[in-house]
Subunit: 220 residues, 2 copies
């Protein structure tokens, strides 16, 4: 099974104190852009890949509901029911996936014709190998390693977190290769007041932080 | 009329000594990627926006041909014949265009159903405002100005060259807004041997230099 750093207790304890966890969507500043790509959810069957709280055991404490079903699976190998969903969502998960073409194909087949996939990943300007934190070390400027795709180790909340860097072209073409029609892309980075408030954070100075993409399955 | 820096004699004299001009396609290393997006040209009606030699007067010296027609126009305002072309190409021109949505719409309408647009621009990691040359000045790292779109002045072959920076999302969404279906994207930067040979060039060290995009007009 792939590394699931969210099963690491130390990582998870730090993670649960992030604004996105303590404040919900209000603490996820990219949410408005993400939401702008989601079609009407009325009567829609929706699959969310990668649960927000990150820790599968915790779903046992979530409110029970007749309309929400939780499943634990490895996205590197998961099999999804065919033509089942109108909308598939995934927030900041796919940059952990090594075999993204396989997963995208699986998602494409799980969508009903006319269905949509909307997913966010860490922006490719941020995941560039060896330097995800936008170091000011002039020997390793962002851009130097843009074409060095693949898994890299970063220290974020815990040591040894594995993330996958992909170029923009690789993300876009992988969606197309899986059968999706391009449905739009949004890039989020702190701007204006947000940026001013956070200007002490070297990695948030108006740089693109998240890439949010949409793919549509054609009506057959 | 928009600035056409290629009409500037000093700029043009420098430009005509670039490898892409003295060696043709063999001096344009991104050509193989560009070509990979072009569909069959057999019996195709093709429009190339922005002539390679850059200087309209020079087209008078080009070989005459019954099948090649040269026209001089401002791409900011040009009107194209409707449903005329199978393929529209443009190499490293659109980052000079201020009103790109207008031009893309014009191109879309000039294509026959099933036709394709393939165009290259300077990569958005390269055109970022204020720092197109990937300066090693640590106070202005690439990424700092990613969201600052619009015209910027750069000194390249001549002083005061105006180029337009756009984010990836702006390019991709503008194509979609004009009606195009996404048909693939390629990013070119020096790698491997090329990079080694050019390692003295601070702005070519494996960084993405060109973005090549394809849009398709659906069959009606």
């Amino acid at each position: 099974m792939a590394q699931n750093i969210y099963d690491n207790l130390e990582f998870h304890q730090h993670f649960m104190h992030l604004p996105s966890q303590t404040h919900g969507l209000a603490g996820a500043p990219e949410w408005l852009l993400f939401r702008s790509l989601i079609p009407s959810v009325i009567n829609a069957s929706i699959l969310d890949l990668g649960c927000g709280a990150g820790w599968a055991k915790q779903t046992k404490e979530f409110p029970r509901s007749a309309v929400v079903v939780y499943k634990q699976a490895d996205l590197e190998t998961v099999g999804l029911e065919k033509e089942k969903f109108n909308i598939v969502l995934s927030s900041l998960v796919f940059h952990y996936i090594v075999d993204l073409p396989r997963l995208l194909k699986e998602i494409f087949e799980s969508l009903k014709p006319g269905g949509s996939l909307i997913f966010s990943v860490e922006h490719l300007l941020y995941t560039q190998a060896t330097n995800p934190a936008w170091s000011k070390d002039a020997t390793a400027l962002p851009g130097d390693n843009y074409f060095e795709e693949g898994q890299q180790t970063t220290d974020w909340l815990a040591d040894g977190v594995l993330k996958v860097h992909r170029t923009f072209g690789t993300y876009a073409n992988a969606m197309m290769d899986a059968g999706f029609v391009f449905g739009g892309v949004k890039e989020w980075g702190m701007e204006g007041k947000e940026m001013k408030d956070a200007e002490q954070l070297a990695d948030r100075r108006g740089r693109p932080r998240f890439l949010i993409s949409k793919g549509m399955k054609p009506d057959s």
